[in-house]
């Protein structure tokens, strides 16, 4: 519980808008206590910038408890920064030392255009879910919940895959800016459960096709995504997605675009 004061040098990516060219700017963060969260450190820098009549650093954040998936920046070359299994908002300054230089960059991917500074547009991930990341069940028409027993191990697996918070760190960390881990987590979550079987094949094809259409890269099995993932979503789901896709393509009896909704 000891408290220390840090003086830090920040090199921050500043970009005025989606079409503007960006640049790094350097700021000093003075007398930062080690109990602050990383984003609180940025709040302090920003408040000073505003009071001095300058533009604060734009960054995305919301719940600040590591679950909403809004925050995220690349800190010294690592998505969400140096602490494993930790989102940017849950990173605390005790992970840094006095005098450190910190480089802050946005998620860089063609699928995530920069909106401003460290804020990127991740709606591509929403569109991947829209392509089939759901079970089609009409409100009010669900059968009694306990009618279909699901083995505990299967339910636990599905939950492992469902832990994804959609922050996009996997894309940011991947050398190819691939959204495989994100897409695979949802395909796996739903394909594991009996409720997800009816749409299983269509789902895999549609979601993968959308993932590609968004301009994300392909998976080259480096494993950077798994390391960067704040929720520990496993690479095994990518292997599962690959199986699901091949199976659905081999078995497909309807052309992919002709699906009726």
């Amino acid at each position: 519980m000891s408290e220390e004061l840090l003086n830090l040098t920040l090199h921050v990516w500043r970009q005025d808008g989606p079409n503007a060219s960006g640049r790094f700017e350097t700021y000093q963060a003075k007398e930062i206590t080690t109990h602050m969260s990383f984003l609180e450190m940025l709040d302090v820098v920003n408040e000073e910038l505003i009071e001095n009549g300058k533009l604060p650093i734009a960054f995305d954040h919301d719940c600040r408890e590591g679950i909403c998936g809004t925050c995220g920046m690349v800190i010294n070359g690592v998505a969400h920064g140096p602490q494993k299994l930790t989102t940017t908002c849950q990173l605390h300054m005790r992970q840094f030392n006095n005098g450190d230089e910190i480089w802050l960059e946005p998620w860089r991917a063609s699928g995530f255009p920069v909106l401003k500074d460290l804020v990127v547009d991740r709606t591509a991930l929403d569109r991947i879910i829209q392509a089939g990341g759901y079970i089609s069940i009409r409100t009010g028409s669900a059968p009694e919940a306990n009618e279909m027993p699901i083995a505990k191990a299967i339910a636990d697996h599905a939950m492992d895959a469902a832990e994804c918070i959609g922050c996009g760190a996997c894309v940011a960390a991947c050398p190819n800016a691939s959204a495989s881990l994100f897409t695979a987590a949802k395909i796996s979550h739903l394909s594991l459960l009996p409720q997800g079987q009816a749409e299983r094949q269509d789902r895999a094809r549609q979601m993968v096709a959308q993932m590609d259409a968004e301009g994300f890269g392909g998976c080259t099995n480096h494993g950077e995504c798994e390391e960067a993932c704040p929720k520990g979503v496993s690479l095994r789901w990518i292997a599962r997605m690959n199986r699901e896709l091949v199976r659905s393509m081999v078995k497909a009896d309807t052309p992919i675009e002709s699906r009726k909704r």
Binding site: H11, W13, G22, F24, V74, N76, G77, V78, W103, E105, R108, A109, S110, G111, A131, A173, P175, N176, A177, S178, Q206, V208, A209, Q210, M211, D212, A213, E214, G215, F216, G217, G218, C219, T220, N221, H222, G223, E224, E226, E227, A228, L235, R236, I238, A239, R240, M241, N242, R243, L245, V246, M249, V250, P255, I256, E257
Partner: protein, 215 residues
Amino acid sequence: MQRALTLQQTTIGKKVIMALSGLIIVGFTIGHFLGNLNLYLGPEAMDGYAEKLQSLPPLVWGTRLVLLFALGAHISSALSLWARNRQARGSRYQKRKDLATDYAARTMYWSGPILLLFIIYHLLHFTILPAHPGEVYRNVVEGFQDPLIASVYIVGNVALGFHIFHGIYSAFQTLGANHPRYNSYRRDAAIAISAAITIGNLSFPIAVLAGIVTL
């Protein structure tokens, strides 16, 4: 962009193609290495083995066609993914730290082209423009006695080792073989196969340079 319609149009499909074609090539490489062990049995064995193969044109040409097709598929998928992956990043990171990527994985885009050049050289050297047609043993030993040529083979085979290490490991993942209980074997298998082929292949030029295998 339009959503993809067929397996090979997807990034995953392309990787599946790379994995399958890669496995075919690795399979051939193993056979190729085992055949080359004849080198240690002397000129008669080696040349006899070559003659025996040549006497079976359907096998030779069948293998060549399959390999050519596999290599073509492997390379075209690789190029297509490479172009796509470069584009997917957009702007580059000023700072970037790899957390999981090993040397082999990081250098795939280098070891691949090096291997291609090596294969072309290797084919020209022994198959298309051999110094002494029909005398396989002599061609090999004479060739490897030249340190420059031997070093080309050494570099080529080191590249091969790294490439197939990541390739084999990666193929398991691409083809969907990932289960926590067996995952450690994936890596072990990749290390074992790539190490056996590389060390075995490297032993030929080294044995010649060291004077263990002579004319």
